[in-house]
Each structure stands twice: as C-alpha cells, then as structure tokens.
Symmetry: C2
Subunit: 712 residues, 2 copies
Amino acid sequence: MTITWILALAFLGLGVAFYYTSQVKSIAPDLGIDDPEQKARLANIHGAIAKGAMAFLKQEYKFMAIFMAVFAVIIALFIDDHHTDYVNEGIYTAIAFLFGAIMSIASGYIGMKIATLGNVRTTVSANQSLAAAFKVAVNSGAVMGFTLVSLATLGLVIIYVALKAMMPAELPTHILMEVIAGFGLGGSSIALFARVGGGIFTKAADVGADLVGKVEAGIPEDDPRNPAVIADNVGDNVGDVAGMGADLFGSCAESTCAAMVISAIAFQGNVEALLFPIAITAIGIPVSLVTMFMVSAKTEAQVGPALKRMLIISSVLMAIVMYFATMQMVPATFEIAGQAYTNLGVYYCFLIGLIAGLVVGLMTEYYTSDAYAPVKELAKSCETGAATNIIFGLALGFKSSVGPYLAIAAAIYFPWMFAGMYGVAIASLGMLGTLVIALTIDAYGPVADNAGGIAEMAGMDKVVRERTDVLDAAGNTTAAMGKGFAIGAAILTSLALFAAFLTRADLLLKEKNGADFDLLGSINLLDPMVFTGLFVGAVLPSFFSAMTMKSVGSAAYDMIEEVRRQFRTIPGIMEGTGQPDYEQCVAISTKAAIREMVPPGILIIFAPLVCGYLFGIQAVAGLLAGSLVAGGVLAISSSNSGGAWDNAKKFVEAGNLGGKGSDVHKAAVVGDTVGDPLKDTSGPSLNILIKLSAILSLVFVPFFVQYGGVLV
Amino acid sequence: MTITWILALAFLGLGVAFYYTSQVKSIAPDLGIDDPEQKARLANIHGAIAKGAMAFLKQEYKFMAIFMAVFAVIIALFIDDHHTDYVNEGIYTAIAFLFGAIMSIASGYIGMKIATLGNVRTTVSANQSLAAAFKVAVNSGAVMGFTLVSLATLGLVIIYVALKAMMPAELPTHILMEVIAGFGLGGSSIALFARVGGGIFTKAADVGADLVGKVEAGIPEDDPRNPAVIADNVGDNVGDVAGMGADLFGSCAESTCAAMVISAIAFQGNVEALLFPIAITAIGIPVSLVTMFMVSAKTEAQVGPALKRMLIISSVLMAIVMYFATMQMVPATFEIAGQAYTNLGVYYCFLIGLIAGLVVGLMTEYYTSDAYAPVKELAKSCETGAATNIIFGLALGFKSSVGPYLAIAAAIYFPWMFAGMYGVAIASLGMLGTLVIALTIDAYGPVADNAGGIAEMAGMDKVVRERTDVLDAAGNTTAAMGKGFAIGAAILTSLALFAAFLTRADLLLKEKNGADFDLLGSINLLDPMVFTGLFVGAVLPSFFSAMTMKSVGSAAYDMIEEVRRQFRTIPGIMEGTGQPDYEQCVAISTKAAIREMVPPGILIIFAPLVCGYLFGIQAVAGLLAGSLVAGGVLAISSSNSGGAWDNAKKFVEAGNLGGKGSDVHKAAVVGDTVGDPLKDTSGPSLNILIKLSAILSLVFVPFFVQYGGVLV
C-alpha cells in the first residue's frame, strides 16, 4: 500500500515534468522573429550551446562509465562481511550503486536537455513580455525539479523492491538497507564528477572568455566574436544545472539511505515506517505542484518576490501535510539503540530541518544580495582598490558562515534530542523538503542567464536583454539561497551518514569481537586515533579546495591560449566576417575539465579508504568529523564571498559609486573574478567532499572491519 | 637542588641578555656619521620611532591594567571549587594570573626597548660593513630571546615556590599546579591584546601609508614626507616584536603549565620530575648561548644560511642535552591515569616535537620563499592580473597547510602513544625547544626592517640600504618559519591544555557526583552536546578572522583620512619643507588598534565561558576541539598566503617578469596588500584564539562545575 502510493506520486511527478516539457516545447524557438537572418543567428547560437552541452556530457559519461564499472567491481569484491550465509553483500551493493549512478545521470541529462531547450524560448518570449519569459524559465526549471525528485523516489522504491525480492526473505532488514546505501553512493559518485567537472568547465570558460575577450580585446560580454562565448553559456548549463542537480540528487538519496539504515532495526517488518524517508520526498511532489499554480510574475518588481514566495509557500504546505503523514506512518513510540522516541518528536525533527533550511537561505541572501548592508559596504570598499575589496570580501564570507552554522547546529542538536541520529537524518530530509521548488529555482537561473546571452549574441532588441537581465538578477539571489540549502543539507546528511556508518560498524565489530565490544563508546575525543583523525580531517577541505581552484586556473589557461590563437589566426574574426571556432573552445574546456577533475576525485574517494585501511575505523570516524565541521565553514564562506563579489560588481554596474568603467568598477571586477572559482567550483564541490566520504565509509564498513587498521 | 640550577640558568639568561644589551648600546647611534644635518635627521627619526612605540605601549598598558584588575577579581570570585577546606583557589589563581601577565608585559617591554635601540645602530653599522650590521641586528634579537625565556623560567619557578610556601603543606600537588596555570592564563591574556592590538596597529599604519603615499601621492616607501611612515616603522616593533614575543611567552608558559597539571598526580612529591617541563625551557638558555658563538655572516650569501644554521645547531644541541636531562629527571617508569610510561618515551616525545617544529618551519619556507617553485608560480600568475594572483595565492595557502598538518598530526599521535597527554605537552615543549633562537631570529627581522626604513628616511648612502635590504630579505624567510613554529606550538599546547582541562574537570566532577562519574568517557563524538560544540567551534576561527580583518580595514581607513588631511593642510609637506605630524598618525593607529582589539578579545574570552555556563563541560570540550582543528588550518593558510604574496611581489621587484612598475608588479602589489592583514593580524591572532580559549577553560573548570550547564 505504502509502496503503491509512493510510486503513484513519483509517476505524478514524471507526468508533471512531461507536461512542463511540452509547455516549453510548444513555444517555437523563433517565435515572433520575422527577420530570417536573425532567425538563423538564433538557431545557430542556440544549436551551438545545445550541441556543446551534449558534447561535454558525452565525454563525461564515457569517463563515468569506466569509473562506474571499475568501482562496481571493487565494491563487489571488497564489501562482503562474510558474517552470514545469506548473501554476498558486495554484489547487491554494486547493483544498487550502478542503479543510483544511472538514475543520477538520467536526472542530470533530462535537466540539461530541457535547459538547453528553454533558454532560447525564454529569449523569444522575452520579446513578447516579461511574464511570458518568466513562465518559460520557471517551467524549464520545474522540469528539472520534478524529474529529479521523481527519479530519486522511483529509484529508491525500485531498488528496495527489487533487492528485497532478490535477497533471502529471512535477511535482517538492516542488511537490506545497508545494501540500498549503495544507491546513495552511486548518486554521489556521479555528483562528484558532475560538480567538480562541471564547476571546472564553467569557470574555465568564463574566466577565459572574460580575460581575453573583455580585458585584452575589449569586446563586451556575450559578444559573438569571442570564440569562448558558447563554451561560457554551455558552462552555465553544465555547472549550474547538471552539477547542482547531481549534488542534490545525491543529498536526497543519501539522507534517505541514512535514515533507513539507522531505523532498520527499530522498524523491522514495518514497511510503512521503513519507507517514511522516501515518502517525505514523494510528498514534496504534489505539494510543489500546488505551489506552482500559485505563482506568477508580471512586472519587474514581482520576479524576485515570486521566486521567494514559491519557497515559502511550499515550506508551509510541507509543514502542514507532513504532520499528518508523520503521525500516520511512524509508530507513536519506538526505540532505537535503547532510546525511546515518539512520532511527534520525528515531526519536530522534520520541522526544525525545514525551518533551518529557510533560515540558512535567508541569511545567505542577506550576505549576498545588494539590497542589504554587507554587499553595499563591500562595493564601497572598492573605492580604495581591489585589495580592500578582496580583504572585505574574504571577511564577509567568514562572517557569513557564523549564522548558518548556528542554525545548522540547532538542526543538529534538537533533532538529536528528539529522535537521536534518526532525527538528524529526518531533519536533513526536512531541509530538503522543498527540494522540487529549490531545484526549479536553481535551474531557472542558468536558463535566464543563457537567455540573456543568446539575446546579446543574436543582437535582439534592447528590451529583450533588459527583461532577461531582470530574470537573471532575481536568479542570482535565489541561486545563492539554493547554495545555502545545498550546503546545509550536505552537512546534516553527512552527519546522519556518519552515525549510520558507526552504527553499522558497531554491529559488525560486535559480531567479530563479541557483544562487549563497544565501538560507539570509543569514538572519544581523547582517543589518540580519533583526535589525530579529526585533526587531519580538518585540513582535507582546504587541500581539496586548493586542488579545484588550481584546476580552474590551469583549465582557464588552456582556454586563454586558445582564444588568443583564434583572435590571431582567424581572418576577419574581430570584424565579424570570420567565424570563430566555438566547438574547439568547448572541446578544450571539456578536455581540461575531465583531466582536472580526476585528482580531487581521487583525494575524496581514497582519503577515507586509505585512512581506514591503514589506521582503522576510529581514525575514519575522526577524519569524517573533522572534514565535516571544517568543510562546512569553507563551503559557506567560499560561496558567500563569491556571491557577494558578484553582486557588488553588479551594484557598481547599475550605476553606483561611479558605475561601469570607473576605477571602482575595475576593483569590483577583480573581486568577481576571484569569487568565480570559489562560488562555482571549490565551494559547492565541498558539499560532495563531506557527503561522499561519509557514504563511502558507510558502504565500505565491511572492508574496514575485515581488512582495516593494518598499522595499528 | 633542581630549583637552584633552574634559577641559575634563568639568571644566566638574564646576564646574557644584559651583555648583549650593552654590546648593542656600545655602538653610538651616529657612528661614523659626520654630516651634522644627517646626524640630526637620524636622531629625529629614530627618536620618533622609539617614542611612538612607547606611546602605544603606554596606552595599551593602561587598557591592560584595567582588564587585568577586572579579570583578576572575576577569577578570585568564581574559581573556588569549594571541595576542600585547604584554600580558596580563586585568590591564588588570581595572584598567579597577575604575575604571569606582568612577566609577559615585562618581556614585551624589554624586547621592544632593545629593538628600538638596535634599529638605528644596525643602520649606522651597515654604513661600516654587512657583518657589523648583521651582528647588531642579531644581538638585538638575542636580547629579546634570552630575556623572554629567562623571565618565563624565572616566573614559573617563583610562582611555584611562592604558592607552595603560601598554601598549606598538605595540599595535593595537583591543586597547586592548577593554581599555577593562572600564570599561563596571565601570559596568554596579555598575548591576546599584544597580538591582536599590535597586529591591527601595524597593518593599519602599513596599509594607510602605502595606499595614500605610494598609490595616491606617488612617493616611494619609507619616504619621510609620508606622515604615516613613522607609524609604519613603529608597527613593525609593536606587532612583530612585542606581539610575537607575548604569543610565544604564552605558549611557553602554557605548555609548561599543561605538562605540570597533567603530571601532578603521577609525580606527587618528586620535585625534580615535577619541574622537568620548566627545566626544558631553562636548558635552552645555555644551549642557545653556545649556538650564538657559532654563527656569523660576512657576505650577502651567508646571511640567510647563518640564520637557518642557528636553528639547526640549537636543535641538534638540544636533542643531545635533553637526552641526559630526561633520563636524569624523569623516573624510569611512571604511571598517569593508569597507563605506564618510561622516561625514554618522554625523551622521544621531546624529540618528535623538536623535529616536527623544524619540519613545519622548512615546509613553511618552501611555500613562502621565492627560491622555490610555489612563489615563482605565484609570481607568474600575476601575468594574467591581480585576480589570478589572488586565486593562486589562496590555493597556495590552503595547500601549504597540508604538510604541516601531517607533521603536527605525527607530533600528536606518537607522543600520545609514548606518554599519553603528558607526552603531547612535552612534544609541544620540544617544538619550543629552540625558543631562544627562534625569538632571536624573529626579533632580528623587524630590527633589520626598521634599519632599512631609517636609512631611507635619513637619506643614507645607497649601499646602506642595499645591506639592510639583504638583512631584511633573510629575515622575511625566517619570519615565515617562525610563524610556522608559533602555530605548531600553539596547536600542541592547546591540545595539552585541552587534556589538562578534561583531567581537572573529571577529578572535580568525580568529587561532586561520585567516583563512577566518567567525564572522560563521555567526550564522545556521538554525544549531541560534544558534536554540536565541535561544529560551532569550527566556525569560531573564521568569525574571529573576519573581525580582525575588518578591524584592520577600519583602522586603515582612519589612517588614510589622516594622511590625506595632512597632505592637504600642511603647507610645503610634499616639497619637504613642511614637517608632517608623525605623532598624530601614531596616535590614530594606537587609538584604532585599542578600540578594535576589544570585540575579538571579547569573542575569545567569552565564547568558552558562555558556552560552558549555558551548555556545560561537554559542549566546551567540543567547542575547544572544533576551534583547535579548524583554527590551525586557517592560521597556517593565512600566514603562508600572505608570506607568499609578499615574496612574489619582492620577486617581481627584483626585476623578474617585467619588474617594478609593470602590470605584473601592480597585480603583485594587490596580492601583497591582501596578504598583509592575513599574515600579520588575523593569522597569528588565531594562535591566541586556540590557546587562550583552552587555558581559560582549564582555569575556569571550577566555575563550569559549579555554575555551568544551566540550559542542559
């Protein structure tokens, strides 16, 4: 019964996504354009972006396919705890892993496909009216939102049903759930490459296009004479749509898996309670559908508030609906690890997570929107030059992490009190409670951004660009809020996974060493291995950030060389008579991104595995906790510094403090360029670092128990 | 007997300091200067710097006196555990606190006094020869090194003897040691204001002088027409001599206290073993004296290696001497908290700390000296502008924290294995084993820097400036190494204090709640309070850095306004006929520094106290651990980014990549300016954050036990 209605909601979501797709597609990509030359230009540009995006995905998928095959074999070989005759866990985990990876890829692919359809349609709709353009962009985003959440729900239910059918009936539920965690690992592994690779691609193209085009050649942004301009627009889709989507797909799958692993023993046999975490995500689908009906924007002033209203409405609806769902699905009282909890407590956990997510989002907005004091002050600091802009921006980022940290701390402590680590996992699902809408808004941003780029390149009327700029500006602020959510959810998810990891390890170690063995009591700050692990873990986020930041640098360098070469060798390129080789730039960004995403990927994947192999589970526990607490700060401050610099520059460009071309503006541009890799590459990639290392450790518990700690 | 020879060594150190003082003073401040006008200029400038430094100290001491009085009363009132009839611990702790503070102030005062005597004498000696100038600068530094270490030794012995005499004889040794920890708190509280206030002063003056003088008015660095130029030179003394000195005085006192508190029960009645931690520091005095005889530099190429050789020689000597001292003073086998250890193990702890310190220093050099690839690559990144310079510099800082973290991790784990937390405290004293020499080199730097400034301002021969530049450049590299030591020692010290804090709390809680009460077993990562504390603790360093960075900004802003005002209103100032008002600039920096150091000071002091009062000891434990592991990364990366930017700029100024005045140089200057507050204010101040919050928590254990945890 529970399975049936969850499946029904998932299919509803897919249906909605299909409906919005047809809505978007119903608009002709040359709607209202009469000039055949402009028609051709539009088709040309839009086709190049779509083609570039797909070319990147194709290369990335090739790499991912090899990685997935190799890693699935590793999982199958090394993850069998040999403690039962039931089943080889490794093989089933590998299946779940591959399925999770494929579902994540499918979500990203569909999101990207619709984004590259929606961009040009937003442009031509902006030729009609702001309201029409807004609708197209939001609908395109909604396709991504509904698809991703539906596929996550569907995937989790299918893998649950399939594995349950494949595995012996007498199997304890917790083993089934541990195997299902492979689904989360699959999703998260894809997210690693999508986030890091996409992040490097987009910023290499952006920085390369800006430095040679704007600075050296002195041509405006999004000028079609710039060979990197298509790569830049491709990058928005690759990084902000596919990368962000994979990240949040991972969070959703992982929080769900964490909650299910932790509650497996308590809810043994109670399918309704067991599937409650999946149900939370599923319930978001109809709630978001209702929300979508309640929002539109007709005037410039309505765009920003409309997006924010979507988040708030869906939060309120979720808070109401979830009360009844929780009371219905979760037993009135239950016990986990000897502690008694209530379903009302579980609802509070959900609610706290939901509210904390909103609070984090609003605080992020405060620090990154030019409507408030921090960004205004940052813009003013440009008056004394680029250096003070950087100093103030770094300080702003640091400071902006304090409030979210306190909010997330509350979302750790109180849920932990209400329902132990299960509560933390539910709080993280609460923070993801508005996932459909959050994704809709996130994907809306790059669609609007692309629409503006296309308008510029195709030489559309000034009013078109003005309208797309309005959409884009609103998208920037909500994108910052979205990043806040994503980090908050990543932190809570990782903590829940951390607990699930220790719970699983404790069970296995008890079987190996006798019931007296107490792993959970030994994860003590005064244990040398735990503390040393914690200490080393705290430096991992910085190491990882250094790698991704330098990767952007090297990738951008390749791009700069290529753009310079084209300006030099293609005759007539600056006069607009020679055709720049857009594809070559896309190919270079692609190659660089895929080359550069490997070392940070290796760091993320092997740090916990090697640590556990050499020093054992206590060291891994320390490592995870250290990288979690330190990584969150770095992620928030990187994102917010970058967002604030971006908006400070836009604030100056809007005519404040001297406006475009002034020295103040030049100083602001330096900040914006520094912020680019921070906010779009290294910052968001840290989400993956903390989540992936946690779920990896959870899945590899049998490996650690059997082979780990060789140096101890 | 033990006390006698430790005192003898302390007095030897003071004697040596006195000898070096007379050596420095024996040089006439106008040696070899015949031109009466230049004589007057020299006297004028040098007098203004000395006067400015003292004016700042006077204001700072006024503030400190009030703070000390208030805080001593708080200590006396709130730190009595009431668990014995022996004694009111609070009053004795307050005495130790005041004494520690006074000793720290005395060290800083003497160091600063000699630095302001040595600077002009280095200038005039450079007129004679490089070797003579080198000797004056090193001797000036040595006064600081020997004075500070001797006073720390002397202070600890005196407070031990005095409190032992004042307190009842039947008192358990551990209570005596806990009271003595007040000495460390006193030293560290002074360090807070000296480091933060000094750091803000020096960078406000530096940034202010550069932005208006160099950038706006286009006059060279150290030009006497710049009203902020004296304040800039005062700042070097205030920040790098007094601030650094107070920081390391604190580390030395705190590590010693931590080791004594932890070992108090084990060594009850064995004075020799009890005073072993003090003896380590005392033994450094004759070892450093021998080292001083073995070093000189005659040619340019010898200066840098000579400084490095000092560190290495004194390390080797310490390693040898300490073997015999440890075998003699520490019992062959002993027990702490039920674990058996050996004196050979204790020696290994010392050795590991010593070696780790050297390794951290050398790694710091690798990342910040322009002799190696990282800084060269950073300089090259300036070719694509200021933004890439910043991105690469931030990445460099992040990456550079990995190696030191692994080295420090080894210096945590192995000593912990060899001798528990006592071993970690000994390792931290090992890292401080070359403290006299490290301080000598550290104080040498600003003396050489000032000497160059004076040469420039007084219009000395070009060769003088060239020679002081050689001395200064060597000092820059060793200063970076010194910062590496300081951070490493701060981390180990804090960890040892953390253990001492928990040991003390456990004892008291057992008395309160019965012997079954197990605090040490409850400092578990899976305890919600501990984890939430850890999480919030991890954001404190960023918050603190944001505050200090912004403080530099506001203080620099005041300075900029003042310099602009003087350029505008003083007639003939730009022609050199009008006299700039140097004192006013010093006064402004002083006022701003003292105003701005209060909020970060409040954060450091009240974060652990409020946390403990509201949430209890588990939360404080988490908070300390979180801020420790995250703070170290930020401290190292801030210092190294700043150091690397500084040297990348110098590398360009040496004629590489286009040299001075090129676009590359402009980009390099932006990096240098951004790095200034990072490397001289916020980075080093983080040492204080992590140490002070730890010793504060140790001293306030009775407060937490009696009043804490009201919300739990």
